[in-house]
Every structure is written in structure tokens, then in C-alpha cells.
Amino acid sequence: MGVINSLKCNLGAWIRRIFKKKRAKIGLYGPPNAGKTTLANRIVHDWSDGGSLGTVSSIPHETRRAVRREGVIINGNGSSIELDIVDTPGMATKIDFMEFMAYGMSEEEAKKRAKEATEGVIEAIKWLDDLDGVLLVMDATEDPYTQVNVTVIGNMEARGLPLLIVANKIDLPESSPARIKAAFPQHNMVTISALEGSNIDELYQAIAANFG
């Protein structure tokens, strides 16, 4: 990123913060199978006219196209914010069709999914240039030091944009949100189960506080 672009980017972020923008475009980012679409569906269910942003599956890269829902108004702590929610495909540094065949897909289906998944990662990256903030969804049962997490956090820090870490899947006994907090102590974190809705009100308050 050039110095002028970087300067514009960071000044823009500071000005948005100073004037407390009340409408923001927020991307849900994270590795595949972290629960991004489950969370996006829950937000839309709770604060919009229902429906869903996408289907959920245990097979990685189920979401292979970014989906945006406009005008989701979230209230929390006495303030409200209008969000455009963007559910992005899972980010990865490698995609092997053999991984999909292990889930019972035919070779042809697996290769098609792999190709679409690579396009999805590119789409997720392109969206980074057009967002006001990020909800970084992490699977609390997994090691948080993945390159996807490190790269997304590094990019948001460099752009001076707000980031909220969502430690998901706390309904699972092996989850360890403390491990995530220890890895990225400089960022706000909320622990939730998007599937069961645990702590979801706390998340909405944090969204209003961080992006409002």
C-alpha cells in the first residue's frame, strides 16, 4: 500500500471514529467452519425480517460467495447502529479437492467445490477494501494462531479499522476462549455460541459499542 493511500485510509478511519458513524458495513471473516454463516443467520433472524444469509454445513467452504444484507439495525446499551452485514467465504491459504472427497463427494464435485472455494477466498479478500469493520469469527476449539487470523488482524490494524473478535462454539466442552484472548490480547473479544445463542446479547452490545 502506498504512503498516500495508507494516509488516506488511516485518516478516513480516524474521521469515521471521531464522527461516530451510525451506519457501517461489517464483514464476517474467519477460517472455514468457524461459524460465520451460523452467526450471520442469527443476527439477521434477531434484527431483520428473518430469512437467512446462507446454508450451513460441516463440509468446509460451504459459503463460496459473499452475501450482503443491508439495513440490519442492532440495539445495544441504549444506542443503535444500522449495519450492512457481509457474510464472506472462509479464508484459507490452501485448498485441496481431496479434502472434500473425504466428506463423501465425488471427484468431480470435489474439484468443482475446490475451484469455487478459491474464487470465494479472492472475493473475501476484495471485500476487505470496502468495509468499515470486521467481526473475526474464530472456532474456540481450534488453535487461534492460524495465518488467516494473523493476516486479517494485521490488515485491520494497518488500515486503522475496528475489529471485534468473536470466540464461537463455546457450547463445545473443548472450547478455550482464554487461548484466543491470550493470543490477541490487544483486541476486544466476545465469547458466544452462534448455534445456541449463548451470550448473543453481549455480542450485540459489543457491536453497538465497537462499530457505532
Binding site: M1, S6, D96, V150, G154
Partner: protein, 114 residues
Amino acid sequence: MDLISGEKLEKMTSMEKIRLILDKVKTGRIVVLESGLSPDEEVRLIEMTMTEIRVDEFSGIEIESYPTKKGGSFFDKLLGKAGKGRMTVIGPANQLRTIEKDQYQISTKVSVGD
């Protein structure tokens, strides 16, 4: 394995770094960058990797770096230079596997002759 000095990296443009890394990794080499990549370069490397994935030929990269160090002066932050790149290891996804990683140490396993 190629260890690339920070001095060499400083003289290269972002695109030159990404091309150098991918060309080496696609031929099975492990690349260690002394001073790493900027966050923007990291994300562009992932983007470029996705465009070069081919079934049965190249399934992507394994890339490991430490979280960026916070800090820097007011002007560093203003110019987006607060997070300086740290040592980074990159290799073919089918040959380099991360065993363990924390803020201070990266342990990887390298398969030879795959």
C-alpha cells in the same frame, strides 16, 4: 530452503516479493523471509496463491508468521507503519505443516520428496 534477507526484501516491490515467493514455493522450496511481509502483502500473496491453485499440481501454501508487534510513533500509525513484518516461513501446502505456534515460536514439519 531459501533464507531471504531483510535487506534484499527492502529493495523489492510488493509484486516482486510475491512473485519470487510463489515461483520458489511452486517448485517445492521452503522460503524464510527475515523481515516478513506487510499485512497488505500477506493478503495479496494469499489472493495470488488462490489464482495459481491447480488440481494435482499445486494446492496452495502454508504460511506462518508471528502476529505483528503493536506500537510505533504517532506518525508511524498515521502512515500505517505501526505493524512491521516479522520473520515468516512459507512453503508448499503438501510439504510444510505447522506443528505448533505461539507468539514467540513456530514449529513446523517439512516433508521431503513428496
